[in-house]
Point group: D2
């Protein structure tokens, strides 16, 4: 399973002293873009070709609070993949403790933000990583 | 139904030219905290009394992209409420167009982040706003 | 003097309980873009024409802490303006209290991020707002 | 000279396609907190003892744009240090290219946000890192 190591930032915290809940979506994004880079789909290259990969659905379950300056491992697997849409699943771990789980669903869109088919080779690669 | 008016910030955008998807969770939070303030539960007062109201689950469905400097209305209703947990439902609208829907589930915790019962008067107030 | 009213967000805070210092740069930006919109230079229109207005220098002096959900007025004036560069000055006030001052210096660049001359009518408008 | 390696996040970008300028202040903060941790002044420990180290002044000069998913080295040195205040200087480099410089000035404050003297051993350590 693909895994990405991130470090929480002081800037990610909120006044309640813990990492602010929207930051978890950013941690999933960091892992997702590294996963895609490893598959040969670098987001900066994709977007320079006017292809975008927006989030169409997001879910996060928060199990334990995270603090600033902690090391977190984000595991990424593919939950579903069709011709036009795919769903990724995330596990966030601090040391051996599961702190959150999440999913994101994506499509591909063109410069006008109209949905387009996923690249065929991406579909093959994603199916290799089905959970 | 409670509704909050917000304005998207340039800082909320990403390099794909649209509002970055975690910002939608921030818009829900702005509306939620205004809703709570109206119910008499100001977050700054609560937290100064060492009571916190973390997000334990988040879902967002993204229907239309938002751009910077747009006015958005966030409607908030209560979906569920038990003695220890409640779920809010959000509709985000730009003019008359629904751009996203979401939910957040919350509990109350003390300074040690241990769950505590919801205040009884809050439960009554939330049940008045059941969707 | 142009003034913009903003409301601090819970998301702008940090674990020390106050508004995180980079958020002040965002508040200046909100005021600057409203000021420019009033001058007829809407940032979204500008950028859709592949003209960008990056920050080349930033200074902020922090006088008083800001908390979440506070109303802040950001006053904007023009400090300097040449054919290729201008500097804006900001005063941030909470009620009658000055909480911070700042400056930003900007140029205009094209899609390749090469500096270009400021639009002549913008220079005239900015000179009308010299502090 | 102390140096910290950071990686820009997609979330740090703005709709103009480059890293949003307030993110540079966050990069300086990441480096500063690592520098302080190395000196034996971990921010989480300090703040749990109700000692805070706010920014009282910030300056940044932006020389080159940064893009998402780029590796940046942030060098930190001490520019000035008195009994109650110190200024750090930052150089941000992408590969061998200087992309920005900055300074932050700090004091120490107690839980009531009243200034207090810097710890004497911190003053000694900071003077060892004078630029």
């Amino acid at each position: 399973m693909f895994a990405s190591k991130i470090r929480t930032r002081y800037a990610d915290t909120g006044q309640d002293g813990i990492i602010h809940h929207p930051s978890f979506a950013i941690y999933c994004e960091i892992a997702r873009l590294e996963f895609f880079q490893q598959l040969g789909f670098d987001i900066n290259t994709l977007e320079s070709q006017k292809t975008f990969c927006p989030v169409v659905a997001l879910t996060i379950k928060y199990l334990k609070p995270l603090l600033s300056l902690q090391d977190v491992v984000v595991q990424v697997a593919v939950e579903e993949c069709s011709k036009v849409r795919f769903t990724l699943k995330y596990l966030l771990l601090r040391e051996e403790t599961l702190v959150a789980t999440g999913t994101t669903t994506h499509c591909f869109v063109n410069a006008a933000f109209k949905p387009i088919a996923l690249p065929k080779n991406l579909i093959h690669l994603l199916k290799d990583h089905l959970a």
